[in-house]
Amino acid sequence: MRRVIVAVSIAASVALLAYTTTVAGALGYLGLETRTLARMFLALTYNPDLRELTAMSPEAVTAIVWDFRGVDTLYETVVFYMAIIAALAIYRGVSRVSGGGGVGLSLIVRVVTKLLIPMNIAIAVSIAVHGHLTPGGGFQAGATLAVISVLLAVVYSVNSFSRVGVDISKAVALRSAGLIAIAIVVFTPLIYSALTGAQAYLMQSYVKVDSGFYFPVDVFGQLISGTLIWLNTAEFLAVSFGFFIVFMLLSLREEIVKQSLLGEGRGS
């Protein structure tokens, strides 16, 4: 009870500090205008009149993440990939994700989870594939699908992973497939440039000033925005199976892990 009073009094003193700052007028323009760089990005995100500068996607944030600043996202994918490699390296002696006598939770919880899992998969795929039209994209969908791995580990016990057919080597293979798909889409303009001698740039999605190469932008009137849809889908695969690996390793029982890791290390 005393801590709640302390917390509320901290909030009240912060409010008093904000009141005195406002009366003295230290912050002038907060929240009224926007910067020139932002106006440029907003004006260029879907602009069929300026074909050399636009990204042909009405969703400004996905266009910035995969087209205008695409190499940043490439490095972010590499950082995430290395964190998963570190987790796999710590658990390098473990090969099977099962064992022990896990039971899981009661029947009601299991039936409700059985209803929720297909809904989750449908929503995640929809978020990934519509990433260039509505808010969404690869990473959002990957995190949504990762919740399924937590549900399987908690509600159905760790043995359920091998019953469903997902084990560590398959999850690593699917994650690598996603990363290879990203690499193929990123390097396709360079391969095209080497084969035909025209000019093309790494991660190029649409025509540029001195390059005529472009990925198809719409299919029978439906907008697919060049590389954005392929990159979103590949990132969805890579991220969701990366999370599967992490939660499969985290939910292993401690006795099995200690047999595999420390038993070998101490020579017993």
Partner: protein, 83 residues
């Protein structure tokens, strides 16, 4: 006056109160629950700040995956912070 600004101030205050409760709590499971409530308040705050892409990342990651991973950690190690 815009209702958005009032709700912004309200939810950021809720986040501040639950942050203080999470940091000074000794029982680690309760601290994780307090931090999950703070993350929910921040998810509403991000929606009010007109960032729907970030809300779609923030809710599964901060309200679902962080408490799950931290609860696995607490279940395998110590459950109390400090002496």
């Amino acid at each position: 006056m815009d209702v958005t600004l009032l709700l912004l101030a309200l939810f950021s205050t809720v986040g501040l109160v639950f942050t203080y409760l999470a940091v000074t709590e000794r029982d680690l499971v309760r601290a994780i629950i307090y931090s999950a409530v703070q993350s929910s308040a921040y998810a509403v705050l991000l929606y009010l700040l007109r960032a729907p892409d970030i809300v779609l990342v923030y809710i599964p990651v901060s309200v679902g995956l962080y408490p799950a991973a931290l609860l696995f950690l607490v279940g395998k190690t110590e459950k109390v912070d400090g002496e």
